[in-house]
């Protein structure tokens, strides 16, 4: 098969899997049946079953991945539409995202230490709460392998969106802004995509949290690494 055919097949296949996953979610709506979960599982199972390598899949997969850049740019739209709300709550946003950023880095560090994880691996766990490119860059700057950092970013993203409804209930977090901030701080753009499905306000709060969090984490990790390592 030529590269082009493989690429087209991979891209079309991904879209089909997504459509199927969405249909499935519309019929059976549970956090665990979110399209990002079932879609990921189906693609991985298909690749394992057919023996197609991830690199071959990505010939077409990267066309879809490439749209993530403009999609993040598009977040400016809900942010602008919710600007009055965000301005009014600017201080709570800033404080809670900062608290969340520290909570993520410190808990990641101390839990890893407790489990006796080696330093290079700790370095790739620490930036898990922020969007992939930032996490990879930050991990690399403190000696963690970037591809591994990306995996933990996915764990934070998918793990976060699946558990969010239960966690919010459990911690009595019911304010729409608080939910958006929680999911954006913990699960970056994957969380923001889910928040946008819930409401525009939640999506806007999540976008702010994800952006601020990326900035804060990329500043505090290199500084804390000086102390830790």
């Amino acid at each position: 098969m030529t590269d082009w055919a493989a690429a087209i097949l991979a891209a079309a296949g991904t879209v089909l899997v997504y459509i199927g996953a969405r249909k499935f979610y519309q019929r059976f709506s549970y956090p665990i049946t979110l399209p990002i979960v079932t879609g990921t599982v189906v693609i991985i199972v298909v690749l394992l079953g057919t023996g197609i390598s991830y690199d071959t899949y990505m010939l077409g997969g990267r066309w879809i991945e490439h749209l993530l850049g403009p999609a993040v740019v598009a977040l400016a739209y809900p942010l602008y539409k919710q600007r009055k709300m965000l301005k009014m709550y600017f201080f709570p946003l800033l404080v809670s995202v900062t608290v969340g950023a520290f909570a993520g880095v410190l808990s990641g560090y101390y839990l890893s230490r407790l489990a006796g994880v080696e330093q290079a691996l700790i370095a790739s766990v620490l930036p898990k709460s922020v969007t992939t490119p930032v996490a990879m860059e930050v991990a690399a700057s403190i000696g963690g392998p970037p591809p591994l950092a990306a995996v933990f970013v996915m764990v934070a993203g998918i793990g976060g969106v699946v558990t969010a409804p239960y966690l919010f209930k459990c911690c009595k977090i019911n304010h729409v802004l608080a939910k958006g901030i929680g999911i954006g701080s913990a699960s970056h753009a994957i969380g923001t995509a889910k928040a946008l499905e819930n409401s525009e306000i939640e999506g806007a709060a999540s976008s702010v949290a994800m952006t601020l969090s990326a900035v804060i984490v990329s500043i505090i990790i290199p500084l804390l690494a000086l102390l830790f390592f």
């Binding site: 997969g61 598009a74 709550y89 839990l111 911690c171 802004l177 753009a189």
Partner: protein, 121 residues
Amino acid sequence: MDVIRIIMHIMILYFFYYAGVWIQEWFNLVIPGSIIGMLLLLSLFYTKLIKPKWIAMGTSLVLSHMPLLFLPVTAGTIVYLELFSGSGLWLVAIAFTSTLFVMAVSGMTAQIFAKRREQHD
């Protein structure tokens, strides 16, 4: 017509994306180009140089199907599947636990502040 409109809207988003990437590379920033592009677009909304409705259709389409765009990336976990068995599972568990902690702490902090603010009004 709608298709053409959507394509034009996405092209505008791409323009901001590449402008952001360019700024990131030029100034050697850690913040990704996509986020810089978003801030650029947001500032143009504020200055009224660009009206949100000019790109509304394409933006809504892209945003409502964001999970699709993540699938190739999340499927990349396949390369590190062995991490999910054996000792690597510890790391996955740590990343997950820490994620829940972040969500709870930031969410509760935000809720306390937001509710206090509402009581003042």
